[in-house]
């Protein structure tokens, strides 16, 4: 039986979460805009300081190796495992010193730039965290209200995916603070997804149709598909930024080559781009996300085939949904190949990753609603 009150509460939680996401988006946006106020000569100065700071940090490190060496008389070599220790961790105070220098020098970290109190970024990050918690609560309540997993129609699939994207983003950027600068570009798409879910795809809480019952593959296949979708969204965000950043970098490089002392490119948006990691950092991040996404899509495909075999008696039948999942998989395979092929690395490969994402979106929207197939579970 459906618990209607809980279902209503779930809806309410989602609506409030959307409001919080809007605020978080404003916060992230304000943070980026704030940075773009600074003029480019300030940036140059900051870069200078950064260079100096890094040199200092290096001396600190160097010294600390010696110092620690001194402290570790007769320590057992075999006790130390190679990949685990790290130079910057050698002494707490030294490490802290490095951190401080880095914090105000590195453009990716907003926490150092706040003039007292909470920075816009930190504020936005916390808001996004609260919104994600509420969103997750809403999804969980939906599950409790229907006494099943909340993945049975487009609305539920979208809200769960949004929660996974946000959780993944928050988790990634908990450690790597420089990624928090990407907040705008993650919260934005998530908000679009949630708004679409809340306005177009929303359906009342209901029990499962027979084709979704009696099968643990519902849990396995769909949860993996949700993860794959979430990773594709994140990957597409990073790949788009990588493309923009590459354009921006080459624009700046041209100006520098032309002898400009304070090169400006793309005005205020250019300053925003300056805040973000370089295109090669974004490229390797995009690759890591996409390679996990590819593995997840592979599992989606295999588990889907196993389920199709139980439900329809054949593991593959070129149903439109199957076709599009196949297309997604092939495009991402092409992306991974492109990274290893001359003339396709970098921007062209990123283009393929985005093509893969377009296929993901198509598979989710058009195939579910317009094209007639066996996977007619949109609930619309």
């Amino acid at each position: 039986m459906i618990n209607e009150q809980l279902a209503e509460f779930s809806n309410l939680a989602l609506v409030v979460a959307i409001v919080l996401f809007v605020l978080a988006l404003i916060g992230f946006g304000a943070d980026l805009a704030g940075t773009s106020q600074r003029r480019s000569d300030e940036r140059l100065a900051a870069k200078d300081r950064a260079e100096k700071g890094r040199a200092d940090a290096r001396e600190l490190q160097a010294a600390s190796v010696g110092a620690d060496g001194a402290g570790a008389v007769g320590s057992d070599v075999s006790g130390a495992d190679v990949p685990e220790t790290d130079v910057t961790e050698i002494s707490a105070s030294d490490a802290a010193a490095v951190d401080v220098v880095a914090a105000d020098a590195i453009p990716g970290d907003g926490t150092g730039s706040a003039s007292g109190g909470m920075s816009a970024q930190r504020f936005a990050y916390l808001l996004a965290g609260a919104a994600t918690a509420l969103l997750t609560l809403g999804v969980v309540c939906r599950a409790l209200a229907t006494q099943r997993v909340p993945w049975a129609n487009m609305y539920e699939f979208a809200t769960t995916s949004a929660a996974v994207v946000m959780i993944a983003f928050l988790a990634f950027s908990l450690q790597r603070r420089e990624l928090r600068g990407l907040g705008t570009f993650v919260v934005g798409p998530v908000l679009i997804l949630l708004l679409l879910a809340q306005t177009v795809w929303i359906v009342p809480a209901a029990a499962l149709t027979p084709s979704l019952q009696n099968s643990h593959w519902l849990y396995i296949h769909i949860s993996v598909a949700i993860m794959a979708t979430a990773l594709s969204i994140l990957g597409a965000v990073v790949a788009s930024l990588q493309l923009l950043q590459a354009k921006h970098e080459s624009g700046l490089a041209q100006k520098i080559a032309a002898g400009e002392e304070h090169p400006e490119h793309w005005g205020r948006f250019g300053h925003v781009m300056d805040r973000l990691p370089s295109s090669s950092v974004l490229e390797s991040l995009s690759f890591r996300i996409h390679s996990i996404a590819f593995v997840t899509w592979t599992f989606t495909l295999i588990f889907g085939a196993i389920w199709a075999r139980d439900a329809w008696g054949r593991f593959w039948g070129w149903d439109p949904k199957e076709v599009w999942t196949f297309i997604i998989w092939i495009i991402y395979a092409a992306y991974l190949h492109a990274r290893a092929t001359g003339g396709f690395r970098g921007s062209r490969a990123a283009g393929l990753a985005l093509a893969g994402f377009v296929a993901v979106v198509f598979n989710y929207t058009i195939v579910n609603t317009v094209i007639n197939g066996l996977h007619s579970y949109s609930g619309l």
Partner: protein, 585 residues
């Protein structure tokens, strides 16, 4: 460019070169040289063809097996699959294809001629994936050879200058013992699963050359080989499988032989004698639907259950309940519950009083939520003329200005709405006809009691007599279930190949492949330690690992001499630019 991702592998031949490392850095950025692939050895795909037929063929072969071709073929395959989802495919839903053809006239014919309704068996689609797999095999075979040799080879020599490599660290260690230092370096690396090789060098130096992550390439090869296996298994399955549809009314039985199927298809190598001899009776079929007042769309199905008594060869009879997603497996066959409907029991007597049709009749649901179902009954034995009864069965019926239709799928108020025709049914013409269709345009309608045209409305237990004395009665109601019976002997092997592919893929994507070198030279009063690494795949952790190895080694060496310094000499690399967190991972 990212130094980590562009540090190209050297060709296997070059590994014997004393300055392999330097060569590696020189090829850095050389457009397109992608690791350990044979092309890099100078048989690049862009090389001009040598003269003659043989040369041309060789050139074409190299083109086909190049990475670029694989990439293009993959994209073509993705694009070619698109129309398969946009146009109704014959193999998926032939009815939709026919409708599309009727509606689109000439355009439809052109598309049909081009194979757009059988995309996945069309020549162009097949050509793409066959080329892709030829390319794949042509690509794997030489790589397996190269890789096997590499697995047996010792780690390559330490490059003479380490300064250009990732995480390069130089530490002066006064009073350090050269051999002891090297031995602990070798031990540490070995314990971290590196393959190591200690070599004496000129000038009293000694170095450890260590390598890790050959499993990456192993995984990559495994992945691609498993893909070929998947394709072979799918082809094998297509040749040997069979699949058929049956409809069974409650109380009736089925035994597995070709004559019992409504439709049946099988692969070219399928052998009828392989079909297992199992039989079952359908004891009961139950369905539940969303009732008014419950959440969800009223009339939407909630559950389907078919109780069967099944006897498999050599086994006791056993009771089973089949559901959607819960098929029955016997050796050599699986049976899936895929559909259901109503079978009203109808008796027809002709004007002479002879029973010309009797018993449950399978009706075909028209696809609405209410399960309005089509009735077609043919009575060729009726006299003086053949009879046909057509109309609708409605589990919860109503007849209003929209005509006869059912409001709810459960049999709450079952009714029949029928019209009776007489004339020549055309069954003797020799053209096979569909049991569920009849052409009434050549027949004449039989009038009601007063002779006027009539739509007979019957409830269970009722009988109706027409003007000429023909009677139709609705005696009772049963349900039927539709099952697919199928078997694909290669299914399990397809699954195993696919899972092997994933295993290979995971190794290939997430195992970093790298080299690490440690060199100790005699110094002024002790030894000079140098450590550096080379990433041969995305490997952000390498820099940290190299540095911590340097730290560990210098710490381990009798720590009494404060003031020793490790001087990182690397050019500022991304990893250090990045953030303190980045390198601390």
């Amino acid at each position: 460019m990212d130094e980590k991702s562009t540090s190209t592998d050297t060709a296997p031949g070059a590994e014997k070169n004393p300055s392999a490392g330097e060569r590696a850095s020189r090829t850095e950025g050389a457009a397109g040289s992608w690791s350990s692939k044979p092309e890099v050895d100078g048989r690049g795909p862009t090389k001009a063809p040598s003269l003659g037929l043989r040369g041309t063929l060789l050139f074409l072969w190299r083109q086909l097996t190049s990475m670029q071709t694989a990439l293009i073929l993959l994209m073509l395959l993705a694009i070619a699959a698109v129309p398969g989802s946009l146009y109704p495919q014959r193999s998926v839903n032939p009815g939709l294809t026919d409708t599309f053809l009727e509606e689109n006239g000439r355009w439809g014919e052109i598309l049909d001629a081009l194979g757009f309704f059988e995309v996945f068996s069309s020549p162009w689609f097949s050509a793409i994936y066959l080329l892709l797999f030829v390319s794949l095999i042509g690509c794997i075979v030489p790589r397996v050879g190269v890789h096997l040799r590499q697995l047996r080879a010792r780690p390559p020599r330490t490059p003479s200058r380490l300064t250009r490599f990732t995480g390069h660290t130089r530490v002066e260690l006064p009073g350090a013992e050269r051999d002891e230092l090297i031995e602990s370096a070798r031990r540490i690396l070995h314990r971290s699963r590196y393959r190591t090789e200690v070599r004496e060098e000129r000038g009293g130096a000694v170095s450890v050359s260590a390598e890790r992550g050959l499993l990456r390439e192993t995984g990559n090869l495994l992945f691609h080989i498993a893909l070929v296996a998947v394709l072979i298994c799918i082809a094998g399955g297509n040749l040997t499988n069979y699949r058929g549809q049956i409809t069974v009314i409650e109380g009736d039985g089925f035994s597995n032989s070709l004559t019992q199927y409504d439709s049946f298809s099988s692969g070219a190598w399928f052998d009828e004698t392989d079909m297992p001899d199992f039989r079952f009776t359908l004891a009961d079929f139950r369905a539940t639907y969303v009732q008014p007042g419950e959440s969800g769309k009223v009339g939407e199905p909630r559950s389907f259950e078919a109780d069967i008594q099944v006897t498999a060869p050599g086994e006791e009879q056993e009771s089973r309940t089949l559901q959607v997603n819960k098929p029955l497996h016997v050796k050599g066959a699986s049976m899936f519950l895929l559909g259901n409907g109503y079978a009203p029991e109808i008796t027809v007597r002709d004007s002479e009083g002879t029973v010309v049709a009797e018993g449950p009749l399978i009706t075909v649901p028209m696809g609405d939520t209410g399960y309005t179902s089509q009735v077609v009954l043919k009575a060729p034995d009726a006299r003086p003329e053949q009879l046909a009864v057509v109309g609708f069965f409605m589990p919860t019926g109503t007849i209003d200005d929209q005509g006869p239709r059912s409001l709810y799928p459960d049999a709450l108020d079952p009714q029949l709405a029928l019209t009776v025709y007489q004339g020549d049914l055309g069954l003797d013409s020799g053209i096979p006809s569909n049991a569920y269709e009849v052409d009434v345009s050549t027949l004449t309608q039989v009038g009601g009691e007063d002779g006027s045209p009539v739509l007979i409305r019957l409830y269970p237990g009722q009988e109706y007599t027409l003007a000429d004395g023909t009677t139709v009665s609705f005696d009772g109601l049963r349900r039927y279930a539709a099952f697919d019976i199928a078997h694909n002997p290669f299914e399990i092997w397809t699954l195993i190949s696919a899972l092997t592919a994933v295993a290979g893929l995971v190794l290939s994507l997430f195992i970093p492949r790298r080299r690490v070198w440690v060199r100790v030279r005699p110094g002024a009063d002790g030894a000079v330690l140098e450590v550096a690494g080379l990433a041969r795949s995305d490997d952000p952790a390498l820099e940290g690992d190299v540095r911590s190895l340097a730290t560990t080694l210098s710490q381990a060496q009798d720590g009494g001499r404060a003031g020793t310094a490790a001087i990182p000499e690397d050019r500022p690399s991304r990893a250090t630019d990045d953030s303190p967190e980045g390198s601390a991972q």
